[in-house]
Amino acid sequence: MHFIVEPGFFSSQPVHVALTIGGVVAVVSAAVGIFTVIRGQSFAGHTLTDVSTAGGSAAFLLGMNPLLGFIGLSLVGSGTMDLIGVQRVRGRDLATGIVLGASIGLAALFLYLDTTTRATTGATQQILFGSIFTLDPGEVPIVVAFSVISLVALAVIYRPLLLATMSPDIAAARGVRLRPVGLAFMLALAVSVGLSSLAIGSILSTALLIGPAAAALRLTKRIGAALITAVAIGVAATWVGVLLAYDSYYWGSSHNGYPVSFFIVALTFLIYLASGLPARRAATSAPAKRH
């Protein structure tokens, strides 16, 4: 036991906060991520993380809670992308790219102003790469509240969203209004991206959004099962990542821990690679059944 979990892991308050927030965020990201992957909106999801970078750094500058900045600007960004047409496949690559470029420019300015005017160090590091061990326990209720909002929104639009994703024509024929459903999904995505920016940093939050969902969709084609698998993978990667980062403090003699975000992203990527193995084995053992 001592080799796996270093002493003090279960009694440390920062660890409790990290496990709680990390777990909640992983659940929301994985659930929203399933639809992001099926709808082919990974680029949009990633763009929102960079939009939320600008929001987080602006909030830092104004002395507000970074979470409000992350979520606030992310919501504005998703609205903008919907306005200039992310729902059409043609041209959405470009529209997303333009929003991405502009938001990075804003983030550059706000981060620069953060470091020069507020005389605070660590803003760049904290906003971009996250710092799950330094989260304030007071954040927990806010994170849980936003997570519940996002999950409830997803549950409400679940059926029309699924239909609109799988076959937009049938959905339209059945009276599903595609545009509001798409917009509602983008807003849920924005909230989830804002939350994961807080946990693992804005430029890495794409990992929790896309990784578990993509792995789950390679393991099963049934949507319900994929949702549960993705949530399990996301939570497992986050918790193991937190544990490894905690342990890493005791590795070597320098007592210079490794970043949590690195472990979470690396685990997510490994799980994604491993999730391709069953399908590949099935394909090689029964080559005649392909296509």
Partner: protein
Amino acid sequence: MFSGFMTNTWVVATVVAALAGVVGFFVVLRGSAFPAHAIPNGAFAGAAAANLLGLNALLGLGVFAVFAALGIGTLGRRGRHDVVTALALVLMLALGALFLSRSTEYEPAIYALLFGEVLGVSTTELLPVAFLAVVCIAAIVFMYRPLTLSSVVPEIAEARGVRSHRMEIAFLVVLAVATAMTVPVVGALLIFSLMIGPPAAARSFTDRPPVAIILSMAIALATVWAAIASSYASNWPIGFFVGTMSAFAYGIGRAWAAWRRSRRPATRL
């Protein structure tokens, strides 16, 4: 603004902008905005690794950018292209975060790599940058016809014997080399803006590829020059000006295209 220590900056920025204009045209034509965003971030990890090991930054940038390009190209063949790109992107960023956490240089180093540092260009960096730029432009000229064909009408290109997957890999490698040399100047996050905004604007003005490429170069040059001047005058980061000016150029292009369409509705495709 044009004093001695700024000369290198102007020269490098001009080379970078010209290259971004050309390569960016194909990025927009092929719809490769996401890989174009991911590969520079891979280069960021490379720079962090080189920093940690005490190697030449350009070497780290190049190796990681090409590695990211090949990874996206090969894995993307099997799975969903955008998912693979997203995962490669975050993996590279996570490695970058790891390497930076191991080294002693911290905040200013991260910031400069991500958002660019105008004043940090030394004379020894000029030659490799110019050399790589020539290599990239030569590669684009060499592949010009098959690349354009496979970008616009992939089916016809296949029928004529162009291997579209090999073309994709070749293009991603050129993209990787182009970004590796530009990252230290404009930053990993902003070379992307330069590769999207100006070419996208140029394409709203003309449909003819050669004209669009030249126009795209011109807009990129104007953007970079104006950004350096504004950054020098205001002391604000160059990244902010490159990002917003690129988006502004695209906005003008869109407005122009909309105005043209409203004037000649009959010729609309």
